[in-house]
């Protein structure tokens, strides 16, 4: 997990993400990895989690993909699900569940992130982008 954080920060810095956003990148990528690990552990899966870094003209994008069944049903075309905004991320202590908490952290750091259906039935992919300033 520490390695994922370090690699994400280094990749973001090289991509030109501004220094003040690097902590957010580190935390968001770690959070997405934690979420994926929890999903794999729950499913008893030993398949690796996939973390992908991509640069395009304007953005540095990190995708964290799990490969287990889950709550998002990828029937039909690839549906995208935007996470809760920071305003919506109030916690109901009686109902707090790890996945909701995880997505609340990610949403608080990156309001525009997406949780997409993954490449296999039931799997998910958290896609997060930050602007490149250089």
């Amino acid at each position: 997990m520490r390695t994922a954080r370090l690699v994400a920060a280094v990749a973001a810095r090289r991509s030109g993400v501004s220094e003040e956003l690097l902590d957010d990148v580190r935390l968001a990528v770690a959070e997405a990895c934690s979420r994926a690990v929890r999903r794999h552990v729950s499913a008893g899966s030993v398949v690796p989690i996939e973390v992908t870094f991509t640069d395009d003209a304007d953005e540095f994008t990190v995708s964290v993909a799990d490969h287990v069944g889950g709550r998002i049903d990828p029937t039909g075309s690839t549906p995208a699900q935007t996470g809760p905004t920071a305003e919506q991320a109030t916690i109901d202590i009686d109902l707090a569940d790890p996945d909701a908490l995880s997505l609340a952290v990610i949403a608080g750091l990156i309001p525009s992130h997406e949780v997409r259906a993954g490449s296999t039935p039931g799997s998910t992919q958290v896609v997060m982008s930050w602007p490149r300033s250089a």
């Binding site: 997990m1 520490r2 954080r5 902590d23 935390l27 770690a30 959070e31 934690s34 979420r35 690990v37 929890r38 552990v41 920071a86 991320a89 109030t90 916690i91 202590i93 009686d94 707090a96 790890p98 908490l101 995880s102 609340a104 952290v105 949403a107 608080g108 750091l109």
Partner: protein
């Protein structure tokens, strides 16, 4: 994978001080430490996160569970958070409004809520 924990009694509180990283792999150790402490009648517990350099939702989940137990047993749970990086995790989820964060242990002892 590295998290160490100390527990001590001070000023009428049980002070739990984890040190290291609280993530999906290490959070269960914190949960195990807090479970008995927060399940007693009227528990008075402070979790001092000063020595924690990383905390994600796994840690938040453990603290939310601890808070629920504390409330069920009519006790108190306070947190000491000195790092902006750690405080941010509570702020972006709105949990700082649910679990009181204090900048120092002295503040946590002196708090009235």
């Amino acid at each position: 994978m590295d998290l160490s924990l100390t527990t001590r009694e001070e000023a009428g509180f049980t002070v739990v001080a984890p040190s290291g990283e609280v993530d999906v792999f290490t959070a269960p150790a914190l949960d195990e430490a807090l479970e008995p402490l927060t399940s007693q009648p009227s528990p008075q517990v402070i979790v001092d996160l000063t020595g924690v350099d990383f905390l994600d939702s796994s840690g938040l989940g453990v603290l939310v569970k601890a808070l629920k137990r504390v409330r069920d047993h009519e006790g108190t749970l306070r947190l000491v958070v000195t790092s902006d990086r750690i405080a941010k995790v509570f702020k972006v989820t709105g949990l700082d409004a649910v679990i009181p964060l204090h900048a120092t242990l002295a503040d946590a002892f002196a708090a009235t809520h």
